[in-house]
Amino acid sequence: MSVFVPRPLTVQWQEQYQILAEHARDQRLARFYRAPMVSADTPLDQVPLLALDVETTGLDAQNHCIVSLGLIPFNLQRIHCSQARYWVVKPKSELSSESITFHHITHSDIRYAPRVEQVLGELLEAMTGCVMVVHYRNIERSFLDHALQQAVGERLHFPVIDTMELEARIHGSQRKPSWWDRLRGRQPTSIRLADSRLRYNLPLYQAHHALTDALATAELLQAQIATHYSPETVIGDLWN
């Protein structure tokens, strides 16, 4: 078992949601917050999880846009592909050539695609009651929050398990090699999605397809829990 850094202050998302529900003006958002959220002491194997990935034109939510979203519900035993969802959406800004080579989503693909606002209702419905699982939370959180602000002028908050952050915790001491390690040419442990998966003997996938990345993230969390945690680990230890 690896060494853990002191765990962050447990966020009480159950209470947060109740407060947010009272202030939400948009109906869809209010419904989203009103649905019951698990308490922080719920064991992981009783938590409905939703792997989520958004592909974007860049890294900054203020200046870049979402081009596709993929999500897939799961629990510690099974990933449910039959309930997977995937959308290509039309970004407000132009697609850069870099982002086209990255996601393989082209101008003609998005010409008739819906705007992100049009899929928000379905998205929120799918997310309702679930704890989101992402690899590097800053992207999904900030882009979805921004999209909601643009669409209805309200903020979006939700609990997230960040598989990248879990990897950082697990490999804490090895991530920043000491001067001695660096002298010996030791590289810091990579916590990128594909590299993290390899450590759990998970197969290589084609990267940067939102649904494939969501599936890859769900599998990674199952592997992390099976290897370093237990099904009884409480959600409060992992979420943010």
């Binding site: 990933i79 592909c81 995937y86 003609s108 695609a113 649904l211 494939t212 599936l215 599998e219 099976a226």
Partner: protein, 644 residues
């Protein structure tokens, strides 16, 4: 909902029994799959527990145990397990445990049952076990060898060429010219796909097709009507053309083209155009049949012309392999081609040299005589001359004849025999009485060393001239061999020189080739020792048959071996030959040279499993032979012994 779970779908599509499923079934399968991760050492299910899903190893390794705890099977990427539990009251029969970190796909019982109901080959696969699976693998081959089964998408060698609906006649013609095609599809990017919001749309070819225009249309609808090159393409195209699903058969395509009198048929995958098949494609495809090839051989007027058939011979071979023809059929067809080329060469030689001074037979030896020739093959031949032959007077003629044929065969891809077993060698260009002496000497004074290089003469057939001459030798061999235990023992001993590549624990024992790849010599360690073994038994039975399957029939008639042992040999030979054929066809398709060396690592686990089964059959049969024809024990073989 159309969601493409590409990683799951693509992986399933590469492994049996899913690899043969139609696209629709694969999509449905991927969408209904569940996924779970198992750490090394964890149980996946235990004995007697309820099982609801078919399990598929996406990555890692799983061991399946018998009730006693004994290891039943070890499974890796692409293997399935749990099917026996699903087929028998949904109770686990063989518990399973992950022995490496494993990612498992779960396919629900309902989907599994539906697949079994709708796909015979899927049902056969999941219900078969062990050698019965090998048997199923072989018997499923023969059934699919016709135009009804071959998917029309096989005829397409390029993606659909399309133009936008806004194009002019000139632009369409320019696109056709640039791609060197005789038709172009017109697509409308503004038509929304059903569910387009939910599918990932990857390229332009996925737009909805609204029309087609062909070379002929340009003539009749544009030029003949005096229309300008700036006419919108929509005014002259054929609207909503007749299409066929890419999954449909070639036969279906022929019918469709005949019924509608069209020469260009767009193929679609669901509604997405994937290509156009033309009448010329179908004619070209048909013309590669071996029958056409054999007819063609006899029209050739020179060695040069025959040589030009080489690509056609290869194409026929590849095509038969791709059409899942049986190894037996392919062997017969390729031998037939080889025989007709030899015959044509002899005709041409006689035209040049004049008629033969004495009667003769041109004799094929080895694989051609057995009708088991494949694409990479030496020429093994000899001349049996009438006893009126006088070397001083006639040998000059026969040497020229032999040289003409041998050089011609070499030009057509049948390389010279390294062992010199060719009619150009004076030792193998002899009158009948000398040949009788050869055969009598081999039978009367056998020793393994002497017979090592002459066993090829025990597969013999006349392919041109006086067949009687060779028949006399066949009779002599068949009559005398069965009464000559020392001869049979010496042959058997040689047949045991090459053993199957299996280790003590049934793992493959591999050789390393020049490029450090781990390989198995499929001919040397598989089909050749099998045919050697079958030959020994056939000679012991006094059979004159040459083809290995015919020989097995002859052996079966004598009760020398049990019917089970015979059928195992039959399937093993067919299977190993098929793997060899596929391997060679693939190499030729990829522009490489065909050889007999396979890399088991590149095979699916089912194929590896079946290979092991087939090698196991050879190994068991060799053990039986060792005991049946004991060397150093020159008494008559005991006739009543059966193989267990």
């Amino acid at each position: 909902m159309q969601i493409e779970l590409l990683e799951i779908r693509d992986h399933l599509s590469r492994f049996p029994p899913f690899e043969g499923l139609p696209d629709e079934s694969l999509d449905e399968l991927a969408q209904n799959t569940e996924v779970g991760y198992y750490k090394a050492g964890t149980d996946i299910f235990t004995f007697g527990s309820e099982i609801k899903d078919l399990h598929y190893v996406r990555s890692g390794a799983v061991e399946v145990y018998r009730r006693t705890g004994e290891l039943y099977n070890r499974l890796t990427e692409g293997d399935i397990f749990g099917q026996f539990g699903l087929l028998r009251n949904h109770k686990v029969r063989f518990p399973a445990r992950a022995i490496e970190d494993s990612l498992i796909y779960f396919i629900s019982g309902q989907v599994f049952e539906k697949l079994c109901e709708n796909n015979d080959s899927f049902a056969d696969f999941v219900e078969a076990e062990g050698q019965s699976r090998l048997k199923a693998a072989v018997s499923s081959q023969g059934k699919t060898n016709d135009l009804m089964k071959i998917k029309v998408r096989k005829l397409i060698d390029r993606p659909a060429v399309t133009v936008d609906i806004s194009a002019t006649v000139r632009e369409a013609a320019q696109v056709m010219d640039a791609h060197n095609v005789s038709s172009v599809l017109i697509v409308d990017p503004s038509v929304e796909w059903p569910n387009s919001r939910l599918t990932s749309v990857a390229n332009q070819a996925m737009h909805v097709m609204v029309g087609i225009i062909t070379d002929r249309d340009f003539r009749t609808r544009v030029v003949a009507q005096g229309l300008s090159a700036d006419t919108p393409i929509t005014e002259v195209m054929t609207n909503n053309p007749i299409t066929l699903q890419s999954d449909d058969s070639v036969f279906e395509a022929i019918l469709c083209m005949l019924r509608n009198n069209i020469h260009h048929l767009p193929l679609v995958h669901r509604r997405r155009p994937v290509g156009v098949v033309t009448l010329a494609d179908i004619i070209k495809y048909e013309s590669q049949s071996s029958l056409y090839l054999v007819n063609n051989v006899f029209n050739k007027q020179s060695v040069d012309e025959l040589e030009k058939l080489l690509p056609d011979i290869r194409a026929t071979f590849i095509r038969m392999a791709n059409e899942d023809a049986s190894a037996h059929m392919i062997g017969r067809a390729m031998s037939g081609v080889g025989r007709s080329i030899s015959q044509r060469l002899l005709e041409l030689a006689e035209q040049e040299l004049g008629p033969a001074p004495v009667p003769y037979s041109f004799m094929a030896l080895g694989s051609m005589a057995r009708d088991e020739q494949l694409i990479v093959t030496d020429q093994d031949n000899a001349l049996v001359l009438d006893d009126s032959f006088d070397a001083k007077l006639h040998d000059d003629y026969f040497l020229k004849l032999a040289t003409f044929v041998s050089d011609g065969l070499a030009a057509c891809g049948y390389t010279y025999c390294k062992g010199g077993i060719m009619a150009t060698n004076s030792k193998w260009r002899q009158p009948l009485h000398v040949w009788k002496q050869y055969f009598n000497d081999w039978i009367d004074n056998p020793n393994p060393e002497k017979l090592l290089n002459s066993s090829i003469f025990f597969d013999l057939d006349s392919i041109y001239g006086e067949a009687e001459l060779v028949e006399t030798l066949k009779d002599l061999l068949a009559e005398r061999a069965s009464d000559s235990p020392r001869f049979l023992a010496a042959l058997a001993r040689n047949a045991l020189n090459r053993t199957p590549p299996l280790g003590f624990f049934r793992q493959f024992v591999m050789e390393t080739d020049g490029q450090q790849k781990h390989i198995i010599n499929l001919k040397g360690r598989g089909t050749a020792p099998l045919t050697d073994l079958i030959r020994v038994h056939a000679l012991a039975c006094g059979s004159k048959a040459q083809n290995s399957l015919d020989r097995l029939d002859a052996i079966a008639a004598t009760k020398l071996m049990t019917p089970e042992a015979i059928s195992h040999l039959r399937y093993a030979l067919e299977f190993l030959s098929l793997v060899r054929i596929r391997h060679q066809a693939l190499a030729l398709t990829e522009g490489g040279d065909a050889n007999n060396y396979i890399e088991p690592e590149k095979f699916t686990s089912t194929e590896r499993h079946n290979l092991k089964e087939a090698f196991q059959v050879l190994s068991q049969a060799q053990n039986f032979m060792r005991f049946r024809y004991p060397y150093n024990a020159p008494q008559k073989p005991r006739p009543s012994v059966s193989q267990r």
